[in-house]
């Protein structure tokens, strides 16, 4: 059963990849070198190295508590870290959130962090705050694009964000990040707590975003769906990157199947956390 579905993914991937198997690897949007984060004496992330190419979806999978969210927060500048974050060709030794947003990096956090007592439309508008501040006032058009991508949001644009369903909230969080026209979109567990049908919808949209040229760094516990949509994947375990490779290759790797895709693996992952 498992082998079957993995193989199907591989086919899906090859069709998708057909146009992009050019000999030149894509330009690097994000490169992380030796990133370390410590909470007090506990090292939550040690010497992580990672690369996201332009127009690629790169995923980081791993069990709960492996340091995935920590890694994204450090790259974004929400957490203090050591190491180097090279974004869009420029190195940041001390990333600062506002600066990273201004430079085109956006994070959709695990908790969504919406403005609950504001309308859907105001939430989206604030997504364009940094652009507005630097004189780029094209939020009207961007909002139309976001509504095109998420018709549900347009239907509910006057509704308060706090009254949305879980799936709609996730759509709003992604839509709000897109309002900044990011060069790199980082998604932290976008499928967490959502019904399977909505998870599928979210991943369909992630694929659609790639077609539009957005580079994506996707952190997921739902390894199966993540490996299906991604070009390249990293496995993060207890703060260290233990495996990496093209997504379809990892999906075939017996260790990954055992730990993250198979039924027995699920068991083990649960035991290890």
């Amino acid at each position: 059963m498992n082998g079957m579905s993995v193989e199907m993914n591989v086919i899906g991937q090859t069709i998708d990849e057909a146009g992009k198997s050019a000999p030149n690897p894509p330009r690097t949007v994000l490169e992380v070198r030796d990133l370390c984060v410590a909470y007090g004496k506990v090292e939550a992330l040690s010497n992580a190295n990672l690369r996201v190419g332009e127009g690629q979806i790169v995923t980081v999978i791993g069990p709960n508590g492996a340091g995935k969210t920590t890694m994204l927060s450090a790259i974004m500048g929400l957490l203090e870290s050591r190491g180097q974050v090279i974004f869009d060709g420029e190195a940041e030794y001390v990333p600062r959130v506002e600066r990273m947003v201004a430079r085109g990096m956006n994070l959709v956090p695990e908790k969504r962090e919406l403005f609950a007592e504001m309308s859907v439309e105001d939430n989206l508008l604030l997504g364009a705050f940094q652009r507005y501040r630097s004189g780029k006032r094209d939020h009207g058009e961007t909002m139309k694009e976001v509504y095109h991508l998420f018709p549900r949001l347009e239907e509910r644009k006057a509704q308060l964000a706090g009254t949305l369903s879980g799936g709609e909230r996730q759509m709003l969080a992604v839509g709000r990040a897109l309002m900044a026209k990011p060069k790199l979109l980082m998604l932290d567990e976008p499928s967490l707590g959502l019904a399977p049908l909505i998870v599928r919808e979210i991943f369909r949209i992630i694929g659609e975003l790639r077609r539009r040229g957005v580079s994506i760094l996707l952190v997921e516990q739902n390894a199966r769906a993540a490996l299906q949509v991604a070009d390249y994947a990293y496995v993060l375990e207890t703060g260290e990157i233990s495996m990496e490779g093209p997504a379809k290759q990892l999906a075939d790797d017996p260790r990954v199947i055992e730990a993250y895709l198979g039924l027995g693996g699920k068991h083990q992952a649960m035991l290890s956390t």
């Binding site: 959130v97 007592e117 504001m118």
Partner: protein
């Protein structure tokens, strides 16, 4: 008490209530965005009023030196930050805003014939001196400790208040002052005489409240401040920096305070330390609104104003006691009706 007196007291109460409403709104705003309980709010009232008094007397207001000093300090801090992060391009802007602005303002104050200027220009100059102290205060005092717990921020607020009162004594002396009213007009409204300044205070308060409402409801900066108050992390991820939000908030708070001072200077004698009591009454109103609700805070402010006016008639020696005792039933009522929310982070 006959009807006539009741009307007079009500008029008095509503006038003061309008000012308390403005201050309460500023307090709620500052607390919501920065978690600072802004004790020095009242000092901006006194500084605004007394700076106007000095300008009308034809002297260069002493508050200018505070602005200049704070500006130089802020420039030094910001320049150091800009150099440390290798952003030399920001230096010019840092210097222009923090040092250039006060210097230009000082030149204006020395060159203009202050005493003979039209009243609106004098008011404008007073605001130009006092209002920028708000963002400077945030930059120098609160921004470095922005992540501190509410209690620490409160203690710092008390210190800032004490410092500003002391400086107020130094700048303005111990004498109280009044300014001439904006208009000498008097209106007869039914059985009641309404004087022009009362109309000014109430109209200006309403205009300011409506303007704030528009600012928060329509402009992207107003929405950004509300977003920061609702979800600080979410706002940061949109590139709304807490420092920007803090400075903008303190600018508004200083504007509201200084403008309130200018408005009431013709009706009350303002001393260097009068602001504290006025601010505290705004604080009572803000507490009625749970430091969260703007409309309830505004309604509470009018209640405080009326209570003060009527208690000054019946028991004038106890009027402050009566006003501040209002907090106790309000706190009791709030603690029974609202569920306790743990402080975030």
């Amino acid at each position: 008490m006959d009807f006539q007196i009741a009307l007079l007291l009500a008029q008095d109460g509503i006038t003061n209530g309008a000012i308390y409403a403005l201050l309460a709104l500023a307090l709620v705003l500052v607390f919501a965005v920065t978690r600072v309980i802004f004790i020095p709010q009242g000092e901006f009232v006194a500084y605004g009023a007394l700076t106007l008094v000095m300008i009308q007397a034809g002297t260069v207001p002493a508050t200018l030196w505070l602005l200049l000093g704070a500006g130089v300090l802020a420039a030094a801090v910001d320049a150091r930050g800009a150099l440390a992060s290798g952003q030399k391009g920001r230096l010019a802007g840092v210097l222009a805003w923090n040092v250039g602005y006060p210097v230009v303002l000082a030149a204006l104050l020395y060159l203009l014939p202050l005493a003979t200027l039209a009243l609106p220009l004098q008011v404008l100059l007073a605001l130009l001196v006092v209002v920028p102290m708000g963002p400077l205060m945030y930059r120098l005092i609160y921004q470095p400790v922005a992540a501190a717990p509410v209690l620490i921020l409160l203690i710092i607020s008390v210190a800032v208040h004490v410092g500003m009162v002391g400086l107020g004594l130094l700048f303005f002396g111990a004498e109280g002052s009044r300014t001439p009213p904006f208009s000498e007009a008097r209106f007869e409204l039914g059985p009641m005489m309404v004087n022009g300044q009362t109309i000014w205070v109430i109209a200006a308060s309403i205009v300011l409240i409506v303007a704030l409402y528009q600012f928060f409801g329509r402009s992207i900066y107003g929405k950004a401040l509300r977003a920061t108050a609702m979800n600080r992390n979410g706002a940061r991820l949109m590139g709304i920096s807490p420092a920007l939000a803090g400075r903008l908030t303190f600018l508004l708070a200083a504007l509201i305070g200084a403008l309130s001072g200018v408005l009431i200077a013709p009706i009350t004698t303002i001393y260097y330390d009068t602001g504290f009591l006025i601010g505290l009454k705004g604080f009572v109103a803000a507490i009625v609104g749970g430091l969260a609700s703007y409309p309830i805070a505004a309604a509470g402010a009018v209640l405080v104003g009326l209570l003060e006016a009527f208690s000054s008639f019946w028991a004038s020696a106890y009027k402050e006691v009566i006003v501040f005792t209002l907090i106790i039933p309000v706190l009791l009522w709030r603690s029974f009706t609202s569920h306790h929310v743990e402080e975030e982070e």
